[in-house]
């Protein structure tokens, strides 16, 4: 199959397979999967800028599909999603400015890459250790009572003391509206700096800082990703002409089904199991990036763009 914008030819079965795999992860964990898909597309010969932009287009379909099914299952906290979204938009715009300043001072790429690796590593290890801990606990607890898998702890005094307290029915938590707004902004800034969608950052933030149950986290994250990727797709197509519609079409055929399978599969797994799987993937990606950074590349030249 020839791709009119990427100007290259690909095996459509391979691309649909990639879509299916990454869509599955998306439905399971509520991540966009851009941090996996972009490098995979580059491996099959897609130029980096087109890989990133087209992936955003594909995620629109996968996250729409995933959000829809999670919404039917009652797993989307729209109220929380909106607050995070507003924060994310503000943060994203701010992040782009931060990059401009960093680029002007020089040596920014090194900082960005390092931030990325450290964030991924920290988030991955923290989730891994925490969910391993929680799984042991629930095993003991399961003998006596039928507890939900993610124990909800009392919020810290600082969060509770903030004004504009709002009750989020779906998630069963009360927070100041400022909390999701600020956290959304924070993730938005980081995502813009690192050039990723931020799903893998948003999910841990929702689990550990907003104390939302894992299943609602997945649905809400997908809801938020859907809007971010619509914006990214349009902007990339409009100003950079980097969205390859044929490639997106092939990918989304795989990913919409993958997202459905992921959602169904996710229902069968416990929150802790989901968390530990996600943490393993995040850690694997971290290791891969570290290896890439340390080992001498076989070719020292590349087209501009990408991570």
């Amino acid at each position: 199959m020839y791709l009119p914008i990427a100007l290259t030819s690909v095996n459509y079965l391979v691309v649909m397979g990639l879509g299916l795999g990454v869509g599955l992860l998306s439905g399971l964990f509520g991540v966009g999967g851009g941090f996996l898909m972009t490098p995979l597309l580059m491996m099959i010969g897609i130029p980096p800028t087109i890989a990133a932009a087209t992936d955003a287009n594909q995620i629109v379909a996968a996250s729409a599909s995933g959000t829809f099914s999670h919404w039917r299952l009652g797993n989307v906290d729209f109220k929380m999603g909106f607050y995070l979204l507003i924060g994310g938009f503000v943060g994203g715009a701010g992040g782009v400015q931060v990059i401009k300043i960093l680029r002007a001072t020089g040596g920014a790429d090194f900082m960005i890459k390092m931030t990325y690796v450290i964030m991924l590593g920290l988030v991955g290890s923290f989730m891994f250790v925490e969910s391993l801990h929680a799984m042991r606990k629930t095993k003991k607890a399961a003998a006596t009572t039928d507890q939900p898998s993610s124990p909800k702890k009392k919020k810290g005094g600082f969060f509770a003391a903030l004004p504009m307290q709002v009750y989020f029915e779906k998630s069963g938590v009360t927070h100041s509206a400022l909390v999701p707004l600020v956290l959304g902004t924070f993730v938005g800034v980081l995502a813009a700096i690192m050039g990723v969608g931020g799903g893998f950052l948003m999910v841990p933030v929702m689990i550990y800082m907003l104390r939302m149950p894992m299943h609602v986290v997945v649905g809400t994250s997908l809801f938020q990703i859907l809007f971010t990727c619509i914006e990214v797709t349009y902007l990339q197509a409009y100003s950079n002409h980097t969205v390859d519609f044929m490639l997106a079409l092939l990918l989304l055929v795989g990913s919409v089904f993958g997202a459905q399978i992921g959602t169904v599969l996710g229902k069968k797994l416990h929150g802790e199991q989901l968390k530990i799987l996600l943490s393993i993937i995040v850690l694997a990606v971290t290791v891969k990036i570290v290896l890439e950074l340390v080992m001498e590349p076989s070719i020292l030249l590349s087209y501009a763009g990408g991570h």
Binding site: M1, Y2, P4, I5, L7, T8, S9, G45, N57, Q58, V60, A61, A62, S63, A64, S65, G66, T67, F68, S69, R72, L73, D109, F110, K113, I230, T233, Y234, L235, Q236, A237, Y238, S239, H241, V243, F245, M246, A248, L249, L252, V253, V256, F257, A259, Q260, V264, K267, E292, L293, V294, M295, E296, P297, S298, I299, L300, L301, S302, Y303, A304
Partner: protein
């Protein structure tokens, strides 16, 4: 006596014939080599359409040539400037993209096929002058960093690696096949045209070489062009970028929601 005169005449006739023949032969030898086999060059197909199922093409380059000449066939695009990001070790540990290097006045596509090893066919000067072979390209290409200063010559090796990996730079010596038949002396080379080469007009040139020098040349063009849906989409992406973006988003949204709805109905149990 008569016999003697007869013999003398015969001898004179014979010597006249010989000298006449010698004159004719000399004349022939002084004439330039007959241009019976002018160098020609043609390619099939002359148009390569890029459809949705396009995965490269097979080119057949043929023509006539003088039998004793060695031949070099090149396929190139117009020379242009190529800017690429380069990676270098930072802080002694990690490999990072550091900046941009520009390769000036060098073709995007460079393919060369010949009847023999280039070094045997042509002198270094002739190769350099006619841009034949990677060494000639190396001597011709200017490499500059983003500040416009000349960059390290080692980057040309990396550039070659990059282009060969993309399959758009290729040299195969001895690939051109000659045939001597009723049609005269013909040559042929079959080329697998890479799908990585972008749409455009490409030039095929065949050069005949004798005694280390270029003696004749002939060229032709072929065009690689998007057609149908491929053309429509690539045009729309640039000419109506806003509409293209909206279409991409709407179709993705619709596909996602539709599959979501189908699964819900079909799944039933959840």
């Amino acid at each position: 006596m008569r016999e003697a005169i007869k013999m003398k005449r015969t001898f004179m006739n014979f010597s006249q014939y010989v000298s006449m023949a010698a004159v004719v032969l000399l004349g022939l030898a002084l004439l330039p080599v007959p241009a019976a086999q002018a160098l020609t060059c043609s390619v099939t197909p002359e148009n390569i359409p890029i459809t949705l199922t396009y995965h490269g093409a097979q080119l057949s380059i043929t023509g006539q040539s003088a039998s004793s000449d060695d031949l070099i066939v090149t396929i190139t695009s117009e020379p242009a400037d190529t800017a690429l990001k380069y990676k270098e070790k930072v802080g002694g540990v990690v490999w990072m993209k550091k900046g941009t290097i520009e390769f000036k006045d060098t073709p995007h596509i460079y393919m060369l096929y010949s009847t023999d090893e280039l070094s045997r066919i042509l002198s270094v000067e002739e190769r350099n002058q006619n841009l034949l072979g990677y060494e000639a390209l190396r001597a011709h290409t200017r490499i500059e960093d983003s500040g416009g200063n000349p960059a390290d010559a080692k980057w040309f090796d990396e550039y070659l690696k990059f282009k060969k990996e993309e399959k758009v730079y290729d040299i195969q010596e001895g690939r051109v096949v000659r045939q001597h038949g009723v049609k005269g002396n013909t040559y042929q080379v079959d080329v697998a045209w890479p799908y990585q080469a972008p749409p455009g007009v490409y030039t095929i040139e065949v050069i005949a070489a004798r005694d280390g020098k270029v003696v004749d040349r002939s060229s032709t063009n072929f065009e690689v062009k998007s057609v149908g849906i491929t053309k429509f989409l690539s045009k729309m992406a640039f000419d109506q970028a806003g509409l293209y973006g909206i279409m991409a988003v709407v179709i993705a949204l619709f596909a996602g929601l539709a599959v979501g709805a189908i699964f819900k109905k079909g799944g039933g149990s959840h």
